[in-house]
């Protein structure tokens, strides 16, 4: 028989006014198993808590029920009080007779009856509570950062500076990401390379950062504190330990006409190449699809077709037979910072929900370019040496039309969200254009100007007032070729007039989208993502850099459109989260998680299917001789978050959620 103490709180007049607390206490005192039942003015006050502590000792209580306010308010308070008196805190529970009773009813008799019912639920439930103790999980205090753009770089440096080891994985051959492609950055117009390059070098030289460029995450196992990550190091065809980055191979590569990805197709590279001069690591990569030697091999030509790079390499670093290799790293936390890509307006789209722009010619007009291409044209290190020239004929455009919200905020195109950075970079583009082509005219079509940010609106004003960009509020209905100009048909909705402009070049501020492959990465990580593939944060306000999978964090544009300051801020936030996680050798968790009855579990794994966290693992039950008896479910204590969906799903009820076990709920329902 239980020894339960019931404590009914008046909460001053809050409960006492409508609920006859003394009567409730008396009725509870008559229940089997209740040995002590009292009411008191303020249970949460020090004397109130002392009352509980004293009763626990005096009556040797093995359960405490406090009928008072919402457990969201004071459950911690009373559990602490119980613990202080030597009672396991999980043997203390609250019945909510304030928010759920006295505050919402007027009739004293009815409210008193209901209060009795509510407290009775908990009295019956607590008879089946078990003492529980917190769970400790060992933490492997190393972090993995996926993505070597500015967010990944920042996160890696912050964690490494905080004294913990970091593995930074980048799928391209160099870190730097999109920021390395930018000419200048808003709202200060400082040179992107100038602020980024030192950070990239810092990464390369940091003793606690292990940089794995040209690598991708293959698989992720484990849980918070204990992830095991398999990483594919793609074959560069270069022996990294031998290469000194002299550049002889690229100089001598005969195939020099491959559109450069870094230059957004506006410039060329060789088959063996370094994407850009400041690349980190400064080691070339051989593009096998475009290499004459590999093309020859693919055709079955016996003789080696080329091989110039190998011939000129003094250090014999070229290895045509290199294969992808795999390494496994054990880490305690993972930061995802895979960044973005720009939407492309073509007819063919990778996803069904996206639609191209037929009215803009589906991207077939050569002088219609996107924002990143314009960055390269404006960049001093770009294909035109910083001169704004048209891709079609190399002429300097005298009139450029910039179109904002291409794809963004357009449900019909499949992206109803705002890409956030376009207003700002378009303003920047008009300024850069004005600085470089003084007699040029920049015309911007916009829907709204969203320039919320420090110095942002001022920046846009400068574009309009000092760089004389013409801002027209309205959409463009079509782009058509008109001789060697582009006919821009649009409307100025402020004047209500249709507008027709013959532009020399059109720059589309296309929408930001998450990187291709994000969904498969998200699935490897068990992180949820939205309709567009942006990763979901655990809570939009209160847990903006965490994901629903404990130990995995998000930074930068993989979570939503972000500019550089936002991405860097997020990155630092994730780093501080990770360092916080790493501040102890073990992780302490509330024990309200599921556990499996090994005797009755049949191993159908319905629980595994419904678990939102992948917390259910497979466990082999063996006899003493080591023969397999059955394979059953086991809950990973580090991963389970305690939702209990497994238990409701389990056909034989062989998995129990502590704190809300079937016996506890049954007892409450039985008290109806």
């Amino acid at each position: 028989m239980s020894r339960i103490g019931v404590f009914i709180c008046h909460c001053g007049e809050n409960i006492g006014r409508t609920v006859d607390c003394a009567q409730v206490a008396q009725a509870m005192g008559e229940l089997p198993g209740v040995v002590h039942s009292v009411d008191y003015k303020y249970m949460c006050s020090d004397p109130g808590q002392a009352l509980i502590k004293q009763a626990i000792k005096e009556h040797n209580l093995d359960g405490v029920v406090v009928g008072a306010c919402s457990p969201h308010m004071h459950e911690k308070t009373f559990r602490k009080a119980a613990a202080a008196a030597g009672l396991n805190p999980y043997l203390c529970e609250m019945a909510n007779i304030r928010e759920h009773c006295s505050w919402i009813h007027e009739d004293r008799a009815e409210a008193t009856e209901k209060a009795k019912g509510l407290v009775r639920f908990i009295v019956e439930k607590i008879k089946y509570n078990r003492p529980l103790s917190n769970i400790f999980i060992p933490v492997n205090r190393r972090a993995l950062v996926i993505g070597g753009g500015i967010a990944g770089i920042q996160a890696a440096l912050d964690i490494a500076d905080g004294g913990r080891e970091v593995i930074l994985v980048e799928k391209e051959s160099s870190i730097g990401g999109h920021m390395s492609q930018l000419s200048e950055t808003f709202p200060t117009l400082d040179c992107s390379q100038c602020i980024l390059t030192p950070r990239m070098v810092e990464v390369a030289q940091h003793p606690r950062i292990k940089l794995l460029a040209y690598s991708e995450v293959e698989s992720v196992d484990g849980y918070i504190g204990n992830f095991e990550v398999k990483i594919r190091q793609k074959a560069r065809s270069i022996d990294v330990s031998k290469c000194n980055g002299c550049g002889e191979c690229t100089k001598n590569c005969p195939n020099k006409k491959i559109p450069s990805e870094f230059e957004q197709g506006l410039g060329f590279r060789t088959a063996i190449y370094v994407p850009f001069p400041q690349a980190v690591p400064n080691i070339p990569v051989l593009d096998r699809d475009n290499c004459a030697l590999f093309k020859g091999r693919a055709k079955g030509v016996k003789k080696q077709v080329c091989g110039k790079c190998a011939t000129v390499c003094g250090r014999r670093a070229i290895d045509f037979d290199q294969q992808d290799s795999f390494i496994t790293e054990k880490v305690g936390a993972i930061i995802v910072a895979t960044g973005y890509q720009l939407y492309w307006i073509g007819k063919e789209q990778e996803s069904e929900i996206l639609h191209g722009y037929g009215e803009y010619g589906y991207g077939t007009i050569p002088d219609v370019i996107d924002g990143l291409q314009f960055e390269r044209l404006a960049s001093a290190s770009g294909p035109t040496g910083g001169k704004i020239l048209r891709p079609s004929d190399g002429k300097e455009p005298k009139k450029i039309v910039f179109l904002q919200c291409i794809g963004s905020r357009d449900r019909a195109k499949g992206m109803e969200y705002c890409s956030k950075i376009c207003c700002m970079y378009v303003a920047k583009h008009t300024m850069l254009y004005h600085h470089k082509v003084h007699d040029g005219k920049a015309i911007v079509f916009y829907m709204d100007i969203r320039a919320g940010g420090k110095g942002y609106d001022e920046f846009v004003r400068r574009a309009i007032e000092e760089s004389h960009a013409l801002y027209l509020r309205g959409r463009v209905s079509s782009l058509t070729r008109n001789g060697d100009t582009i006919r821009v048909q649009g409307v100025d909705t402020l004047s209500g007039e249709p507008v027709s402009i013959d532009a020399d070049m059109v720059v589309l501020a296309t929408a930001m989208r998450p990187q291709p492959g994000i969904t498969s990465l998200a699935q490897k990580l068990s992180v949820s993502y939205d309709l567009h593939g942006f990763l979901n944060e655990a809570h939009p306000k209160l847990r903006p850099v965490e994901t629903n999978t404990a130990g995995i964090f998000v930074a930068g544009a993989c979570q939503a459109p972000r500019d550089i300051p936002d991405s860097v801020a997020m990155a630092s936030a994730t780093a501080s989260k990770v360092l916080g996680l790493f501040s102890n050798e073990q992780l302490e968790r509330e024990p309200l998680i599921a556990r499996v009855d090994r005797q009755t579990c049949t191993g159908c794994f319905h629980c595994e299917r419904v678990c939102p966290y992948g917390a259910v693992e497979r466990f082999e039950v063996k006899d003493r001789k080591g023969n397999l008896i059955k394979v059953i479910a086991e809950v990973n204590q580090g991963v389970c978050q305690g939702c209990g969906t497994c238990q409701a799903t389990c056909p034989s009820k062989s998995i129990e959620l502590d704190g809300f076990t079937d016996e506890q709920i049954f007892a409450a329902v039985n008290a109806l």
Binding site: M1, E30, L31, P32, R120, E124, Q599, N670, A671, L672
Partner: protein, 352 residues
């Protein structure tokens, strides 16, 4: 001199009893979603009674041994437990149209119910119940009452046996309870000088006899000596362990006792039908079960019926009703099994 009872008078008799508040149980025809069958059920009207020979799908035992029966109610009050006994009055019941094999079962099970413990519930129902059996006019390939010492017109367990004769029945009074029934219905059962038509059911009996011939003594002997025999493994492979055989068996009387809550601190103790075939049978709290698989459980069933019960009470715990064969989804056929064991017993006997 024989007494005859016409169907009309039988109906009148039933009507009288119903009028007097007696519960009347008889075979009635049922149709559930296209499936037609006969079962023992309380009747409100004599016309419902079906005495045409179809065997009720479930046995008569539920009349004296309900599938669930409340033994007592309890209430827990601050450490005190109050018990309220279940009522010990049993309603007067007349069973009309019991199969001889079902009636006989009652008498056979009486033995165990009054052995180490006198079961008040069983005998309470038994005392209140008068059984009027009707001799079988038909049988099927699952019937084997003759093999266990009974016959289509066995009177065991019955207070009256009615033998169909045209549109009437010959009444054979078997027990004092039967005498009492006759006493109050004498006018309906006139003595008749119709000459005896011979054994009414001899044809049926022949048909049943053809299904199985068995030597119970030899069988019992063989069973006692062959607890571990590969036969058990072989036979039980196809058995699903569902226990439907036990639930339709007129002689199976296993029960389980459970306490069921009906609110905070109160509930009822009930006893429910149970069976020896499901895996829970004899499962220990430790998780160990001395009967490790279905072969052991199936062996238990055969042993109990044809060896253990006979050695303890001198009765075979089987009336050959054949329901276990008809009901089995897996085609377990007790006639075939007994025949096979019997053959083994013959062979074993010859080598002894």
């Amino acid at each position: 001199m024989r007494r005859m009872l016409s169907r009309t008078d039988l109906d009148a008799l039933v009507r009288d009893l119903l009028g007097a508040g007696t519960r009347v149980i008889a075979p009635v025809r049922r149709k559930v979603q296209g499936r037609e069958f006969v079962e023992y059920a309380p009747v409100q009207n004599p016309e419902e009674i079906a005495l045409d020979g179809s065997q009720p799908v479930r046995p008569l035992k539920q009349v004296v041994f309900p599938p669930t029966e409340t033994l007592f109610n309890y209430k827990q009050d601050k450490g005190l437990v109050q018990i309220q006994e279940a009522p010990t009055t049993f309603s007067d019941t007349l069973v009309i149209g019991a199969r001889p094999c079902d009636a006989a079962a009652l008498e056979i099970v009486d033995r165990v119910m009054d052995w180490d413990y006198h079961d008040e519930f069983w005998f309470g129902h038994r005392q209140a119940t008068t059984v009027v059996a009707v001799a079988c006019t038909d049988s099927d390939e699952s019937c084997f009452c003759t093999a266990v010492g009974l016959s289509p017109e066995s009177t065991r367990g019955a207070d009256w046996l009615l033998i169909p004769a045209g549109s009437s029945f010959e009444v054979r009074v078997v027990t004092p309870k039967g005498e009492a029934l006759l006493e109050s219905n004498k006018s309906r059962c006139p003595e008749s000088d119709v000459p005896e038509a011979g054994k009414a059911s001899s044809a049926v009996e022949e048909k049943v006899r053809a299904n199985l011939a068995m030597n119970p003594a030899k069988l019992q002997e063989w069973l006692g000596a062959h607890f571990e025999h590969p036969l058990w493994q072989k036979i039980a492979l196809r058995c699903h362990g569902c226990g439907a055989c036990a639930f339709v068996c007129p002689t199976c009387h296993c029960f389980d006792i459970v306490d069921e809550l009906e609110g905070v601190g109160r509930g009822a103790r009930r006893r429910n039908w149970d069976a020896c075939q499901p895996a829970l049978f004899t499962l220990h709290g430790s998780g160990h079960n001395p009967r490790k698989d279905q072969s052991a459980r199936f062996r238990q069933r055969v042993m109990h019926k044809f060896s253990i019960y006979p050695s303890r009470f001198g009765e075979i715990l089987c009336t050959g009703c054949g329901r276990c064969i008809r009901v089995c989804a897996a085609g377990m056929d007790l006639i075939a099994i007994l025949a096979e064991i019997g053959q083994n017993a013959e062979e074993a006997g010859s080598t002894l």
